[in-house]
Amino acid sequence: MLGFLRSTILSKIVMAVSGAALVGFLIAHLTGNLLVFAGPEKINAYGQGLRDLGPLLWVLRIGLLVAVALHIISSIFLADKNRTARPVSYSKKKSIQSTIASRTMLFSGITILTFVAYHLLHYTYGIVQPEFYHGEYMLHDGRTVHDIYSMMIHGFTNPFITVSYVLAVTFVCMHLNHAIASAFQTLGFNHPKYNAKIKMFGVGLSAILWVGYLSIPAGIMAGVVKLIEGAH
């Protein structure tokens, strides 16, 4: 199954395809969580809706885990290959036209992975801020569900959590700034007519994701999104 690791090009293709799946997740994750602006009813019902998917949710989760695993495995293989390709470094080396984002993919990737682990410990496993993890919310239809809304507000009123989130999102978007256009090239798509558009798509999508993800803590800090009196 890991036969693709024999070839740098196949590893890069696995990297590009698994990366595309992760970008898809980022878009879906943001779209769902922006419901925080629609109030507790909407986002809590959305969270419950995801749980109600049952086996389908597990299919999505396993798909996501496979994408993450493939992305990491190929990056380890390629990073090792790239490091051994230059055992003696230059005493003076200039980059000519490469971007900082393109040269720091491994660093941004590791930073993102570290944050994702922390983010899961926080919102999925309730180990960070356990005091806010077990909140319940009663939907209009009478069902009592997990209160995601208040959990997000409690999270983003903590300065450490907010700062680490802002940094991580910035790294994600820096990573994508190179990754999206790069994936097209890796998959063999390079055409003078479309190259500028592909680059714009990559930069544009990462910028939209950056604004979208940061709008959540911004909305909470600005008081646009706030705790509802009486509900917890």
Partner: protein
């Protein structure tokens, strides 16, 4: 012109090397970079010291023998220019110039600034050719080639195999070199029968030689003295994927 040269000196592949400083006076701005090194070597020989070894051959910018990492850029600061075609007027009086060999595991240093680029030859041996029956030459114009393909193939064929792409790449990847050779042959009708086997064999050899992978930073394209485009790398990826999925 007066220059402070910081040059990598290494006795042979077994010994450790180091940067050695040389002051050079009376450099004419009209000298080529290699002529400037010739002047330095004359002085070193006169003093009874070992001259600096560096690769060169045609000194016309077409053979691919010259190399040199000049102030951190392969073939120096002038775009789309080989070291032999670089002139000292591109530098300023009193400037410090760091001169190092190409750095990559598949390009071991032989002496001073000379590296062994035999890894490129071994990649070519795996498929950088077309197999043709011998005999008299084919009549002209019996195989038609579109102008678009002919131009794209010629652009790729401009690769002189100097290794600047590997030297510039942060991963020491030879993707641009291999891609140029593949496009050069793969775009022409004569190159079609072996197109799939060629890409698989040459890429496998590239990986075995220990070159890094392409992370699409495109410093290779900027460093290439022949201006070879990274679109050739996309074509290589496409051909490689096709050959891997659908067989040869």
């Amino acid at each position: 012109m007066k220059l402070l040269l910081k040059i990598w000196r290494q006795q042979n592949s077994e010994t450790e090397g180091k940067i050695v400083d040389y002051m050079l006076d009376d450099v004419s701005p009209d000298m080529s970079f290699l002529e400037m090194l010739d002047v330095l070597n004359e002085k070193l020989i006169h003093k009874g010291e070992e001259p600096v070894a560096f690769d060169h051959d045609c000194r016309e910018g077409i053979c691919g023998a010259c190399s040199l990492m000049i102030n951190g850029v392969p073939h120096g600061p002038e775009k789309a220019t080989t070291t032999c075609q670089l002139h000292m007027r591109k530098f300023t009086d009193g400037q410090e110039i760091v001169i190092e060999p190409w750095r990559a595991a598949p390009f071991p240093v032989i002496k001073d600034l000379v590296v062994d680029r035999g890894s490129f030859d071994r990649i070519i041996q795996k498929g950088g050719f077309i197999s043709a029956s011998t005999g008299s030459a084919q009549d002209g114009n019996t195989i038609l080639v579109s102008k678009i393909d002919a131009d794209a193939s010629m652009d790729a064929a401009a690769c002189i195999g100097c290794g600047a792409c590997v030297a510039a790449c942060k991963n020491g990847s030879a993707s641009l070199f291999v891609a140029a050779k593949l496009s050069h042959l793969g775009l022409l009708p004569q190159g079609q029968p072996e197109r799939s086997t060629r890409v698989l064999a040459m890429v496998m050899q590239m990986d075995e030689e220990g070159f890094g992978s392409c992370t699409n930073t495109y410093d290779c394209e900027a460093a290439c003295p022949k201006g070879i485009s990274v679109k050739n790398i996309a074509r290589m990826n496409r051909d490689y994927l096709k050959a891997s999925l659908f067989g040869v």
